[in-house]
């Protein structure tokens, strides 16, 4: 078995996309880890849909203040310039295109950039939360996910079989073995994890991958 990147390392790579001054919303689960890897010298403003802009690093359990949390229920620290607002205003920010970058988790992404990240077979009562608004409202949507299911089946597929969050929305995918751009021409393989070849990545990906001209090892 070849080594795959752990969640922290995927987050470290994804966080390299943070530009100075960006407003960023990090989705439930794995994307939240990106908050710990802001590239040095850059300022990023984290927005969370429960009504907070400009929060700082996550806190430990002992220090929890349940009136200062992000939408993943993680307690956060306050920073100068932070603000609070109600849910309607929060989704004006999100739906209205005022968030520069959204990073969400995913069960499946299709070759056209369709996203499925909320419903699973056998769990009809789980909801989408703010995912549908975030997927189409951010100026740019990226996804962090494991490349395959526990059973080894591809999560990057021709057509999503899980319930959709939004269509044609994903622009970039970070997995535990690759970085892939979603383009009009199709999926372009940009980076591979150390020791992985493009053939091995293709074997675990359902749609045909276009090999990027400047294909390289994932930079960390």
């Amino acid at each position: 078995m070849k080594l795959r990147l752990d969640e922290e390392t995927i987050a470290l790579r994804a966080a390299k996309e943070f530009d100075d001054g960006m407003v960023v919303n990090l989705g439930y689960g794995m994307p939240g880890l990106c908050a710990n890897f802001i590239p040095e010298g850059r300022t990023v403003f984290f927005q969370s849909e429960n009504g907070i802009l400009g929060y700082g690093p996550l806190l430990t359990d002992e220090e929890k203040d349940y009136e200062l949390i992000n939408a993943s229920d993680q307690p956060v620290t306050s920073l100068p310039g932070m603000s609070f607002f109600d849910s309607a205003t929060s989704f004006d920010m999100i739906r209205g295109g005022h968030i520069d970058l959204v990073i969400l988790g995913a069960y499946q992404v299709s070759e056209k950039g369709d996203l499925a990240n909320w419903g699973r077979p056998g769990r009809p009562a789980t909801g989408m939360g703010g995912g549908m608004d975030l997927a189409l409202g951010g100026k740019k949507l990226m996804v962090m996910m494991l490349h395959t299911t526990k059973e080894g089946a591809p999560r990057i597929v021709r057509q999503c079989t899980f319930p959709l969050t939004a269509r044609n929305c994903v622009k970039k995918i970070f997995t535990d073995i690759a970085v892939i751009d979603v383009t009009r021409r199709g999926l372009v393989l940009r980076e591979v994890a150390p020791a992985w070849t493009s053939e091995e990545i293709q074997a675990l990906t359902e749609p045909k991958l276009i090999i990027g001209e400047d294909l390289k090892e994932i930079e960390l």
Binding site: Y28, G29, S48, E49, N50, G51, I52, D61, K64, D65, Y66, E67, L68, I69, N70, A71, D73, F84, F85, D86, S87, A88, S90, F91, I94, R95, D114, W118, G119, R120, G122, R123, P124, A125, T126, G127, M128, G129, G130, G131, M132, D133, L136, G137, P163, L164, T165, A166, R167
Partner: protein, 237 residues
């Protein structure tokens, strides 16, 4: 002399909530922002056939211990009590949790109706209800299971879904401070769904950490003006 909105106990404040009522419950889902003492009082009061409008369906006391040491009460206790016939919200059950939340269990047994609403659409439907609007068009949900049965319209080349307003008979709200008139200020991320819900109900019942004299709140800082508030209960933290 303005009407006295101050109630001594949460039990009295929810005493007249009737069978079949539609109730908005503020907060986001977990501990901060939920009107926990009003929820507990409503559970004791026992009214049935309720329609609950809330962001999350609650995990119940047992599962909540995983999120917060000691656990906390949430919307889940009303569901466990068999008081809820329908839930309207964005996250009836959490996907990060095992499928044992009260609402998910009852839904699987066919004893609970669920209307799934994306979170931003939920907030906007409540705001539309509060503001007397007939509805609005949103791009959220186009091409997904959410669009089923909804009017679709192309505006400036983009597809939108028609969504209708939400109002309720009662709202249970958590705020940080109220003055005697019912002006409200909130604390941190406990604000979330509380202000729009406070505006969309016929009778708005508020649990506050602290009740202050009229005139003590900075008018510039008031988030919910008093005309939206019917009843106030102080539950010191």
């Amino acid at each position: 002399m303005p009407v006295n909105k101050i109630y001594e106990t949460c039990e009295r404040a929810v005493a007249d909530i009737y069978n079949g009522a539609t109730i908005m419950i503020g907060g986001f889902g977990s501990f901060g922002g939920l009107p926990i003492h009003l929820i507990i009082a409503l559970a004791k009061q026992g009214t049935k056939n309720l329609t609950i409008i809330a962001n999350q369906g609650g995990v119940g006391f047992e599962l909540s211990k995983r999120i917060k040491p000691g656990g906390y009460e949430d919307v889940g206790i009303l569901v466990q009590n068999g008081q809820v016939k329908k839930f309207i919200g964005s996250m009836p059950a959490l996907r990060g949790m095992p499928p044992t939340s009260p609402i998910e269990t009852l839904h699987r047994e066919g004893k609970m109706e669920i209307e799934l609403v994306p979170q931003g659409t939920l907030a906007e439907r409540i705001r539309a209800g509060a503001g007397g609007l007939g509805g609005f068009y949103t791009p959220t949900g186009v091409g997904t299971p959410v669009e089923s049965g909804k009017e679709k319209r192309v505006i400036n080349g983009r597809e939108y879904l028609l969504e209708f307003p939400l109002t309720s008979d009662f709202a249970l709200i958590k705020a940080h401070k109220a003055d005697a008139l019912g002006n409200l200020v909130y604390r941190g991320t406990a604000r979330c769904f509380n202000p729009p819900m406070a505006m969309a109900a016929k009778i708005t019942i508020v649990e506050v950490d602290q009740l202050v004299r009229t005139g003590e709140l900075d008018p510039e800082a008031v988030v919910t003006p008093h005309l939206f508030v019917s009843r106030i209960v102080e539950v010191p933290r």
